[in-house]
């Protein structure tokens, strides 16, 4: 596998046999870095037997290294996956290793880095190649998005996790060719964590919703989310919350919009009583149309709103619900 030494390797995350879209985003950005450096782009895929790796080749991978087995990889145990990925990295010796910053990637990635003893930059929003030394420049927002830190690694692989939905997916090119290389799984891999069962939950899909109605600190009680929920339902949307409300337990983390929550790009974003801290704006600034309702005319949310309503959300929203119902 010497011909892939020094390549850009992306971890192709899969969930239950289905390739996660962040993998295609990594192929896009990773491909750009690989072309700048003049090296190969490869995908590392770990999972059950049923996965189809050809999609990764059609989207730009020069090779897909796979470790597939049903029993071992049907459940998300980061330790098992990390051990397997470390095994692949040692076989291939990539210069750069990119992992998607999903819940799973944010847990497995640092385990991999510590087992390899390399550095790791979290949640990058941009990558570049240093023209002087060819090193990977890992760019990440810090301090609630107030600054962008340009970070470099002192050793190899240069490793980073990349935010989901930050880059476009690599397009499909039916003519692109690549090879599939099966790797055997590590010999000794004690499974100390047992996955007992999966609980199917109706998790809110904030990231793909076309309408998001978000509550912020202007909301007085947990109960008041019912009003936002009603508005969201009328618009066939979902309810979001700013970080302080999630931290106070008003809504679960699955609803959190912002830098440390989810990044949303809906057709319509309605911010109700959200002041608009930088960390929140980072999660919604790419919404197609934003309406903000806040009683404080100086709230920073108005700087990113297409329509700002200076008013009491407890008056405006019930009125809006009334009009929507045609009462």
């Amino acid at each position: 596998m010497d011909n892939y030494k020094g390549c850009v390797m992306i971890y192709a995350e899969q969930n239950n046999g289905k390739i996660h879209p962040v993998s295609y985003e990594l192929l896009n950005k990773g491909g750009e870095v690989a072309r700048k450096k003049g090296v190969k782009l490869i995908a590392a895929l770990i999972g059950p037997m049923e996965i189809d790796e050809n999609e990764l080749i059609r989207r730009g991978a020069d090779a897909v290294f796979t470790v597939k087995e049903d029993d071992t990889y049907s459940f998300p145990d980061e330790n098992t996956y990390a051990n397997t990925l470390v095994h692949m990295v040692k076989e291939v010796s990539p210069d750069i290793l990119l992992v998607g910053a999903t819940n799973f990637g944010r847990s497995m990635g640092p385990k991999v880095a510590s087992l390899l003893g390399c550095g790791l930059t979290a949640d990058c929003t941009a990558l570049d190649v240093d023209e002087e030394d060819g090193a990977l420049i890992q760019i990440r927002p810090a301090f609630s998005e107030n600054i962008l830190a340009h970070i470099k690694s002192k050793n190899f692989p240069q490793m980073a996790t990349i935010r989901f939905k930050e880059f476009d997916e690599a397009p499909i090119n039916e003519d692109h060719v690549g090879e599939i290389i099966e790797v055997s799984k590590p010999i000794s891999m004690p499974q100390l964590i047992e996955v007992i069962k999966e609980i199917k939950t109706n998790q809110v899909d904030l990231v793909n919703a076309s309408v998001v109605v978000t509550g912020g600190k202007g909301l007085k009680s947990k109960d008041d989310f019912k009003m936002l929920k009603e508005l969201a339902t009328l618009l066939d949307g979902v309810v979001g919350a700013s970080r302080p409300l999630v931290e106070d337990g008003f809504l679960g983390k699955a609803h959190q919009v912002g830098y440390s929550g989810h990044r949303v790009k809906p057709n319509l974003y309605i911010a109700c009583g959200v002041s608009g801290a930088a960390q929140h704006i980072a999660g919604m600034k790419e919404s197609q149309y934003t309406i903000a309702i806040n009683s404080d005319p100086s709230a920073p949310i108005f700087n990113v709103a297409d329509l700002g309503i200076v008013g009491d959300l407890y008056e405006v929203i019930p009125e809006l619900i009334k009009q929507l119902k045609g009462e």
């Binding site: 969930n15 239950n16 980061e78 330790n79 990390a82 819940n103 799973f104 944010r106 847990s107 497995m108 990635g109 640092p110 880095a113 510590s114 087992l115 550095g119 790791l120 930059t121 979290a122 949640d123 420049i137 810090a142 301090f143 107030n146 600054i147 340009h150 970070i151 470099k152 690694s153 002192k154 964590i193 047992e194 007992i196 999966e198 609980i199 939950t201 998790q203 009328l234 337990g249 983390k253 699955a254 057709n267 319509l268 960390q279 149309y289 309702i293 108005f302 700087n303 990113v304 709103a305 329509l307 700002g308 309503i309 200076v310 008056e315 405006v316 009125e319 809006l320 009009q323 929507l324």
Partner: protein
Amino acid sequence: MNIIVLVKQVPDMDTVKFDQESGTVDRSSAGKEMNPFDLNALEMAVEIKENTGAKVTAVTMGPPSAEEVLREAISRGADEGILLSDRFFGGSDVKATARTLAAGINYIGDVALIIGGLQTVDGDTGQVIPEIAGYLNLPHASSITKLVGVSEKDITIETDLWDSTYVKKAKFPVVLAVTKEVNSPRMASFSTKMKAKKAEITTLKLEDLKELTAEDVGFKGSSTFVKKIVVPKATSRQGIKLKEEPQIAANKIMGILKDKKLLEVQNG
């Protein structure tokens, strides 16, 4: 059973001042508090202590003043506090931080459970806990949303991964990173506050951590470095801002919804 809770003192991110011109954070401008996620980690440890009689030790790394966060941990139910503090630890990245904390945990020894918050609100990397597990050569579980049960040998939790929820059982010793959903942290009581005031805080220096040298910690032991800091231009795309009666305001929004064809869903 010994439980370690990892805590960090962070600035109050709601009030900390930031200088857009110089790109620097004025840490003195805001109060300091325990990282909010760590409160949940501590609460989980204390709940387990109440059921099993375990001993809970809070561990932090930071300047001598970080001792305050250990006293807060004791006031909220921890039994003792250990501070890793040495000028050699300055400038640590995630790797150097994780190695130092892992060495501190090894110094304490015989630990069944190590619990930390999913991420800190200032660094926000969410990487330190899994890396500590790696340097301790222990398994870990992250994104934990519920404590299901504890026995003498193992712990059962729920975790959000792969857009679903999974129940996992982990044998001790294990490292866990918890979300804010896992519990509701308790307040300190008068008596525990008094206990915290009087508590002896143990400070460990580099020389106490036999497995590490000055090459392994701080800036020297880090694998990443900041090449430069860029201050991005503030996003602005301000549109119309109206101050109207609720009825008129709602009417205006209705107009937008019609323009955007967002009313078709419910009417069609």
